[in-house]
Symmetry: C2
Subunit: 216 residues, 2 copies
């Protein structure tokens, strides 16, 4: 059985393209493999708090020594990490806001990338002291953006601070570079035929990917 962690970060609910893509992925998967399990984490309905000084102090205190206030500071993080640990496949539906992650998605990463839970830190490793503690997961990034040309060679490639940033953080989710699939809808602000075509293409790719992976 596969456990899917289904995240959405769009502030929009009904009209969100990234939410439609992530829901299509999950629905297509479950149609092909009905016994699998989905954990839902909606970052708009339950917004992740920004990391605080109390959070940092608690995270660096051994778990047996944490008092009640420290446990409370880590409660959101604990729940989100438990979901991540349980997942084999992570599906992130996200818009690009101001050329990067929405703050809610960044806050989720800041909550789940945590010493002793998702990475270890050891200066005996020299100049590369951080190592992921999780491994073997797959990540699907389904995103929407208002403009276009954010891939390599495109006119806005140097403004894309979303995809590569997610890939860099993904290693601490237990996801290897080769285990990330990205499907994107562009031209949303233009609302023209290019956008409609981009959306049709993305939807077809999402269905094909979910169907193929679910049967693998």
């Amino acid at each position: 059985m596969t456990t899917i962690l289904h995240l959405d970060a769009s502030a929009r609910r009904g009209r969100s393209i990234s939410r439609a893509l992530s829901q299509t992925f999950v629905d297509t998967w479950l149609a092909a493999s009905p016994g699998d399990h989905v954990i839902r984490r909606d970052l708009t309905i339950d917004p992740p708090p920004h990391v605080t000084e109390e959070w940092i102090a608690a995270a660096f205190t051994p778990s047996m020594q944490r008092d009640t206030a420290m446990q409370a500071a880590l409660a959101w993080s604990d729940a989100a990490i438990d979901e991540l640990v349980a997942a084999d496949l992570i599906v992130i539906g996200t818009p690009m806001y101001n050329y990067g992650m929405p703050s809610s998605l960044k806050a989720w990463f800041d909550q789940v990338v945590r010493v002793g839970r998702t990475f270890s830190f050891d200066l005996a490793r020299g100049d590369w002291p951080l190592e992921p503690l999780l491994a073997g997961k797959r990540l699907i990034v389904l995103s929407a953006r208002g403009e276009f040309g954010f891939t390599s060679g495109g006119p806005r490639a140097s403004w894309n601070h979303l995809d590569a940033h997610i890939a860099t953080c993904a290693r601490y989710l237990g996801v290897a570079d080769s285990a990330i699939e990205t499907i994107t809808v562009e031209y949303q602000e233009f609302g023209d035929e290019r956008h409609l075509q981009s959306r049709r293409d993305a939807e077809a790719r999402v269905r094909a990917l979910a169907s193929t992976l679910a049967k693998a």
Copy 2:
């Protein structure tokens, strides 16, 4: 008279290196030019909310047509934009969290980059419909990071999703690429002589930059 907008994003208060750098910058500036004005915005004491569906709907409604709920959805954004508009110089003290902005700093950008206030949108401009409404500001980015080698040619250059992302967003703050100065402390997690040297170098550069600019 120069108006400085002084932002801090570190979750840490007393022990933050980026806060120490930004405070040194402002203190040095005021010593050289005591009549100038500082607007303080602490993103940890007053955390910016994530953008919501209500925020987006209100931002796209003409200001005269906004009801009380819409005005409330934009209240944090309005206050932050008023500060930005008033500023000649923006000083951001920020750590690198998970290879990018802390979620609190990203939330500040998501709150202040707003149609009709900091950018205009017009499809008559073709494929480049967004234009900044502000201009002529200078940005100083003072940051701290646990690891090292994030500049061009360094071993972690491809993991740096902080500096270039801030530069991309800065155009909507009214800051040209050539008007950004970045000073960075590295090696924080190592706590070794390299870190102490990096910190001494950064502090000296911050003092020199503030002193030079304040007298210009």
